[in-house]
């Protein structure tokens, strides 16, 4: 029976202390907010510290407002607006209209850093992991020693791996910057930062490398070398990836030409226009989806692929039947005729669709990016690389494993013998040209994602495509593959030293010199067939 009053007393005490705490917090906030009225940097600084110390829930909102120039102070009080523009009284947190006479509270860079650090430690315990992540990063950058308890507290509770990692780095950064901390702790902290391996880490380590001595300095310098090494490797990986990405675009553009020019020997100057037609098919399909079935818009790209193949392929067959078949064995005349066709096709598209660029939007599954081995890879580029390789494999399969492919190879190797064996050479010619053109159309679907869909789209690729096919060796698909990726990567390696345009010029000159050395490309066909 005696414990009841005791319990009551305890409860009372708890409630009282809680109230006291809350009011102390509110009072702290009130007092801190008052400091903003002075609008002098030293008072504002005190205000920021006060708001941070108050632990009040609207403290975060006030400091964020201050950072975003949404905090106003004047004789009537201190007010802030939220991002939507709704006004609040800073001291009470209740909605209010911001009076006209309240002026914006100004900040300088030092104060801005202070606010960020304060916000960092205040939001370390926020329920939103993204906010905690940002807060930890802010602490890492500010290395504010006063935030250490908050970081420790947050670390004890943190379960999300990413946030935990940043928090640990932040703690390490703080310990490293505290010159009074024990040497062993600072060495461990330096090692922890070196593990992070990014630019911020290297900046911190460099800063302390000069100030420190003995074992600590050795650890820090070791960390710096390790990070620099890793960054160099990463830069190389990135160059290679960009090169592969460019190479896949080159391959995609050239692969159809590898059939029409490489296998058939037709100098197809209208190849670029086949790519362009594919891109316009994509545009038309997307417009149809947009107007008739907007919810399926993401599917318009996959559906465009077969349609682009058919459209470009049919145009290609028409060109072969109508013009090129009269010109076999006269490669230079073919060049002129197909150049004429390319002009007509360009003008036709310009007449129908207008000369301006057409917008082809990316489906949602191609948007965004992810991080792999420390480099950003956009899904769009990745899809194009994958798509290119799939198209290449499919083409290889058609040539090597289907009756049509067999006949194509037979006709190109020995037309009369093939004809004697009962192959309809005319039909095979048309099909081969159609296949090459269709593949170009498919390339247009992919290129519509990374280039402007305009009547000049094909022009930009035709010369590069010829270079790729000639470099790889006419009549050799694998050669085309190797050539495209070699040129792509070489281009990206040269770019940082020479700039984009000069890099391209260098590649062209190197290519011209290479042709001198190996006049028939990387992988030349051997035997009598090469002497026409």
């Amino acid at each position: 029976m005696s414990f009841l009053p005791a319990l009551r007393a305890l409860l009372l005490a708890c409630a009282l202390s809680f109230l006291a705490l809350a009011s102390a917090g509110a009072q702290g906030l009130d007092a801190a907010v008052e400091r903003f009225k002075a609008d002098s940097f030293s008072d504002t600084e005190a205000g920021i510290a006060g708001v941070a110390a108050s632990g009040s829930p609207q403290g975060v909102a006030i400091l964020e407002a201050l950072l975003d120039r949404r905090l106003f102070a004047g004789a009537p009080g201190v007010f802030f607006r939220d991002k939507a523009g709704q006004g609040f009284n800073a001291a009470t947190g209740s909605p209010a209209t911001v009076p006209a006479e309240a002026g914006m509270v100004r900040l300088n860079n030092r104060l801005r850093n202070l606010v960020q650090a304060a916000l960092g430690s205040m939001t370390l315990l926020s329920p939103d992991p993204a906010q905690r992540f940002r807060a930890a990063e802010a602490v890492f950058k500010s290395r504010d020693a006063t935030a250490l308890p908050a970081v420790e507290q947050a670390l004890a509770k943190e379960t999300v791996r990413n946030v935990r990692r940043v928090l640990e780095e932040a703690r390490a950064a703080i310990i490293l910057s505290t010159t009074t901390a024990p040497e062993a702790d600072r060495i461990a902290a330096a090692q922890r930062i070196a593990e992070a391996g990014d630019n911020d880490a290297v900046a911190i380590l460099r800063q302390f490398s000069a100030q420190s001595t003995g074992g600590l300095k050795a650890v820090i310098d070791q960390g710096i070398t390790a990070i620099e090494q890793a960054q160099r490797i990463r830069a190389w990986v990135q160059t290679v990836w960009f090169g592969v990405s460019l190479g896949s675009v080159l391959l995609l553009a050239a692969i159809g030409l590898a059939i029409t020019f490489g296998v058939m020997g037709v100098i197809n100057m209208a190849h670029g226009e086949m790519v362009m037609i594919g891109a316009y098919v994509t545009f038309v399909v997307q417009e149809l989806f947009r107007s008739h079935a907007p919810h399926l818009l993401d599917w318009s790209l996959p559906i465009s692929i077969p349609l682009a193949f058919l459209t470009s392929g049919l145009v290609g067959i028409a060109i072969e039947r109508g013009v090129i078949r009269f010109l076999y064995g006269r490669p230079l005349e073919t060049l002129l005729a197909t150049f004429g066709i390319s002009l007509v096709l360009q003008q036709a598209i310009r007449t129908w669709f207008g000369p301006t660029n057409r917008e082809v939007s990316a489906p949602s599954w191609m948007a965004g990016s992810f991080e792999f081995l420390g480099l950003q890879i956009t899904y769009g580029r990745l899809w194009i690389v994958v798509f290119t390789l799939v198209v290449f494999a499919a083409l290889l399969l058609i040539l090597k494993a289907t009756p049509l492919g067999l006949q194509m190879r037979a006709v190109t190797q020995n037309r009369r013998m093939a004809s004697a064996m009962g192959i309809r050479t005319r039909f095979v010619d048309a099909m081969t040209f159609g296949l090459g053109s269709g593949i170009a159309g498919i390339a247009g679907v992919a290129l519509s994602q990374i280039d402007n869909v305009s009547p000049n789209l094909g022009q930009g690729y035709i010369i590069d495509s010829f270079m790729v096919v000639v470099f790889g060796g006419v009549g050799n698909l694998w050669g085309t593959l190797v050539a495209a990726f070699t040129l792509g990567i070489a281009n990206k390696i040269l770019e940082p030293f020479a700039g984009a345009v000069l890099g391209k010029i260098l590649i062209l000159v190197l290519l011209i010199l290479f042709i001198q050395k190996r006049p028939r490309g990387l992988f030349a066909l051997k035997g009598r067939a090469v002497e026409q």
Binding site: G265, I267, M269, V323, F326, L327, R330, P331, L332, E333, T334, L335, L336, A337, F339, G340, I341, S342, L343, V344, L345, Q346, Q347, A348, R350, T351, Q459, I463, F466, M467, V470, V474, V501, L502, K504, I505, L508, V509, L511, I512, L513, I515, Q516, K517, P519, R520, E531, Q532
Partner: protein, 383 residues
Amino acid sequence: MITMRLVKLMEGRGLIFLAILAALAVLVPVCNLLVPPGSAFHISNGTVVLLGKYLCYAMLAVALDLVWGYCGILSLGHGAFFALGGYAMGMYLMRQIGTRGVYGNPILPDFMVFLNYKELPITWWGFQHFPYAMLMVVLVPGILAFVFGWLTFRSRVTGVYLSIITQAMTYALWLSFFRNDMGFGGNNGLTDFKDILGYNVQAQSTRASLFVVTCIALMLTFIAARLIVASTYGKVLVAIRDAESRTRFIGYRVEHHKLLVWVVSAMMAGVAGALYVPQVGIINPSEFHPANSIEAVVWVAIGGRGTLVGAALGAVVVNYLKTIFTTGWLAAYWLFALGGLFVLVTLVMPKGIIGVWEDVKARLRERKAIAAGRAGAAAEGKP
């Protein structure tokens, strides 16, 4: 004696061509300068410039026909030699501006002042002297052609591969001349010329003189080309065109023969470009564009490959059509017409306009011979 031989070498149509050019060289300036503007025989200033432009293109076409028509080297980069010659001339004209530029710098052209050049780049030295500039007009394309040809022909790059790398050459130059760092005016090229040899380039008399000079240059180019193809050397070129390996096996140094004609042709193209620039008043990197070179090939194909006269004719005809089509409501159809023309010419008249004309003549002669034969037979059967 020599004149008689020359006349014989020119063939019938060559003589007609030269006569037409000579007549143009006299009539156009007279009708432009002396005949009053109201008269039906007056030739307007714009027309003189236009005709001069056509003749420069004709010169480029003759140069191209020399290598393509007679030696089988299909160059998709002849526009590069044309443009280089043009740039050499443009640089001379730029230096002549002197203090009359916007910035009034006596040494540096305006664009260099604008790009903060402190002194004249070494590539521009000497271009204020006309003879030096004229030397460069032939030397620069000639040296480029020599280096390119020496490498290429020696490694026996032929046919399609050769065409593609000539295209790569002009493409690389096109990209280079767009760069401001090259020191050739970048994207804008060279323009705002004031005078040539002390005469105002805008003045009508200068323009008429330039036209006459172009006529004479084209005549000389044609005669030179004709002399080359009619010589023993020219016969070897034709042999190389028709069977390169066989010619080599017989014992000719194919690459030397090719190299010589290639360099000569490039120099001719350079001269054409140099005459083109003062008449048009501008030279910019777009002249290097690969499509320009292909277009030049098309002039030759349309006129008649391997005839020289046909090449010049093709250049004039196509460019005249272009002038008609690109002004007024027909503009939208120009590319249809040009593209259609390419296809039609390659399919229906592979020997070009001259080829069609020859066919018609041959058929007429045949008909006459048949008729004569019939008459003869009838006369014999009578007694």
